[in-house]
């Protein structure tokens, strides 16, 4: 053991699973060949990118680096400021899970920085060997493609860098450069093209959406005995709900949607979903494209104007909340036509939390007693947004809501939650089957932290407020010894516990039977 090497953590191996942040030995090249599917021309072109690799890709890519550096201060400063101190090297869940040194944040940045230095700095132009500068070659371009699609843009590294260098910004820029030369990624670009065409990531048309919502209304009536609405395209409603389209079809997402509906019902507000803007997700962020992100955001503005709503509320989605909270005002504002007495936009948890504080919601917490809960802070919510008035509200509000509806709640290791949360492993445009190996390895720090609270407190389930996290966990949890339904929506727990006025409960029914 080298005396100057890191962290007591290394030796602190608990049980059979190990510490969640245990640092692996370097495994050079371990993930070098993992390549997500490339986009086809039909996916690239609607986004304004060339269909396939252009002939003069090298010149265009180099010019694009300069253009981005002149348009984005973060990119420029981050390329220059890194001192290679190494503080970030053990902060990425993909490095922790794979041991591939190119998944260390600073090494990931260097894939691009080395080229920036070669063409844009004195030292790199004249003494490339001295500062690790290198020519842009086809191998480098391919390496960019592979490793910039092994970053979930979770910003954990940024928290721990003395200058706040955010590898997510570098990844986004790299993906934009790749897109500009026709090397888009299929998963992201296909989805953005669908949103532009139909209004959501799934390509669910308004008719299908209406049918889905009507089915869900029937389910709700069956469950509660009262009519709880899931309105679509209702002009003049107070609130426009923008939610990830996974909430319309995937488990456990749907249960969360039912929870929002019950809360709105109990709060007595009128609300609607829009078929035109039936998607909270905005993958424009993942590919670093301001223009695409803006175009998708403007659909929300248009829907709000067309429906004449007063407020916009976002459902449970991580990166969507970052785009909504941090960027929507920039991309699609100003929202002077909305009611200024409410935050614009508002998170569904802010809404529910406010109703809990007002005392309008009635809960029977014991209905969640079958669960022993913990909570996974989604990266984009934790490190790229806020809820409520105070910094850190994004940590406190979800926990306050969970504690209001569950009796058994336990946090995971402090180094893996809140601003230090470890990514689910599937964010940032990586939630695609061909990356399953990376997703599983990237999830291991989170899974180990969960295993700890399972051992220490008997935790059985984990709640999340992100559509990607939920899908990712239901896929990878079985690989770590949990059932696939061990991940729950926060509003699913709200939905379980809430008792609506006039609602028949299981207790009523059994009493009636007696």
């Amino acid at each position: 053991m080298v005396p100057l090497d890191d962290d007591s953590k290394k030796n602190d191996v608990r049980g059979p699973t190990g510490h969640p942040l245990e640092i692996p030995r370097l495994a050079c090249g371990a993930m070098a060949d993992l390549e997500s599917y490339h986009a086809k021309p039909a996916h690239n072109e609607p986004l304004g990118f060339p269909g396939e690799l252009i002939d003069d890709w090298k010149e265009v890519a180099i010019a694009k680096i300069g253009e981005l550096a002149s348009k984005n201060r973060a990119f420029q400063v981050y390329l220059d400021a890194c001192v290679k101190c190494g503080a970030c090297t053990d902060k990425c869940h993909y490095f922790l899970g794979t041991g591939d040194p190119k998944n260390m944040p600073v090494a990931r940045q260097d894939l691009l920085r080395s080229v920036y230095r070669r063409y844009y700095t004195f030292a790199g132009k004249n003494f490339p060997w001295l500062v690790g500068a290198r020519d842009l070659t086809r191998e480098v371009l391919d390496e960019w493609y592979n490793y910039y699609h092994q970053c979930s843009q979770c910003r954990r590294c940024s928290v721990f860098c003395p200058y706040g260098i955010d590898t997510a910004e570098i990844s986004m820029a790299a993906r934009e450069i790749l897109d500009t030369v026709g090397q888009g990624q299929k998963y992201c670009n296909e989805i953005i093209a669908k949103v532009k065409d139909v209004g959501n990531n799934l390509g669910l048309n308004p008719k299908a959406l209406r049918a889905t919502l009507e089915d869900l209304e029937e389910d709700l009536e069956e469950e509660t005995g009262i009519s709880v609405r899931l309105p679509l395209d209702e002009k003049g409603a107070d609130i426009l709900l923008i939610t990830p389209s996974a909430d319309f079809f995937a488990e456990p997402h749907i249960e969360g949607l039912l929870g929002y509906a019950k809360v709105f019902h109990a709060a007595g507000v009128s609300w609607t979903i829009s078929s035109y803007a039936s998607e909270a997700a905005n993958f424009g962020m993942f590919i670093g494209s301001y223009e695409n992100m803006r175009e998708v955001s403007l659909r929300i503005r248009k829907a709000a104007q067309d429906l004449g709503v007063k407020r916009i509320v976002f459902g449970e989605c991580g990166h969507a909340w970052r785009v909504a909270y941090s960027f929507l005002n920039t991309l699609a504002g100003p929202f002077d036509f909305l009611d200024q007495n409410y935050p614009i936009p508002q998170h569904i948890l802010e809404f529910t939390h406010a109703e809990i504080e007002k005392g309008t919601l009635n809960f029977d917490k014991s209905r969640n007693d079958e669960y022993r809960m913990t909570y996974h802070d989604s990266c984009n919510v934790a490190r790229g947004s806020r809820m409520g008035d105070k910094p850190g509200g994004q940590f406190e509000i979800p926990r306050a809501v969970l504690k209001a509806v569950c009796n058994n709640y336990f946090d995971m290791d402090r180094d893996t939650i809140k601003e230090s949360t470890v990514c689910c492993g599937g964010g940032g445009g990586l939630l695609t089957d061909e990356l399953m190996d990376l997703r599983t390895k990237g999830a291991s720090p989170r899974m180990k932290a969960l295993q700890q609270v399972t051992e220490d407190h008997g935790v059985t389930h984990m709640a999340a407020i992100c559509a990607i996290c939920k899908t990712q966990f239901s896929k990878v949890m079985p690989k770590f010894g949990y059932e696939m339904d061990s991940v729950l929506s926060v509003h699913q727990l709200v939905s379980n516990a809430i008792i609506l006025d006039g609602q028949q409960t299981a207790d009523d029914t059994s009493e009636a039977e007696e």
């Binding site: 090497d5 890194c82 101190c85 500062v131 721990f160 803006r294 005002n329 490190r383």
Partner: protein
């Protein structure tokens, strides 16, 4: 002859450093930040941001949370460097400012802290696999340069004393555009030559972390995106 050479070297180095840094700072200041990207939780007011930045600059707060070893060595080095630099004002001021006199005794120990910190940082570049992997020759050379500056300086202090009075006359002269005799003393010539190199590479090396820290959007932005619309000039063009 050598005195003239060193005088010219210091004039050149000063101009390159000042102009180079000014150009870089201008570039950073003029490059717009299109989106609000503070790493949250972040302060919601300007005053809060000033405090956050102050904690980063004075305590290396994020680094402390990140890695205690790097923090320890980095902090020893930087605090040592700061005190040593402040102590050097005595060679440029006549009479010497009172607060420079005041830190004089600490300045002597500071050089040990600085050298120890640098040695620790350098050792990590060899011993810790991850940091070895990310180090380029320039990362080693930068530490070697600073260490050599520190050690040559300490040589003059603790071993082969140089004619300090003459050195001071030389630098006070430079400030009035006169060239006086510099003592022909090897450790001094090495020390000064390396310092000039450091000044020259300042604006074209990773020493840009000094201005960079102040321009980092993830640290210097206010978390108020819902209340105040933020729009870069080039983005405003898209709305036309």
């Amino acid at each position: 002859m050598l005195s003239t050479l060193y005088a010219l070297l210091f004039y050149t180095a000063s101009v390159l450093m000042v102009v180079g840094l000014a150009l870089k700072i201008r570039k950073y200041a003029r490059t717009p930040a299109p989106l609000k990207i503070p790493t949250t939780p972040a302060p919601t007011t300007r005053g809060g941001v000033v405090l956050r930045m102050a904690r980063e600059v004075v305590f290396f707060e994020s680094l402390f949370k990140s890695n205690k070893w790097i923090w320890l060595f980095g902090y020893l080095f930087h605090v040592g460097l700061l005190l040593v630099l402040l102590r050097h004002f005595r060679y440029f001021t006549n009479p010497v400012w009172w607060w420079v006199e005041l830190i004089q005794p600490f300045g002597v120990y500071a050089s040990f802290a600085m050298v120890a910190g640098l040695a620790g940082l350098w050792a990590r570049r060899f011993l810790v696999e991850r940091i070895r992997y990310i180090s380029s020759p320039s990362d080693h050379l930068m530490l070697a340069l600073l260490l050599a500056i520190g050690l040559s300086g300490m040589t003059m202090k603790f071993a082969a004393q140089t004619d300090i009075v003459a050195v001071k006359v030389f630098f006070l002269g430079l400030m009035r555009f006169q060239i006086n005799e510099l003592p022909m003393h090897l450790p001094l010539l090495v020390h000064l030559g390396l310092v000039a190199i450091l000044m020259i590479i300042f604006p074209i090396s990773k020493l840009l972390h000094v201005p960079g820290l102040f321009f980092s959007p993830s640290r210097n932005q206010v978390d108020n995106s819902r209340d105040k619309r933020h729009l870069a000039p080039w983005a405003a063009e898209l709305e036309k």
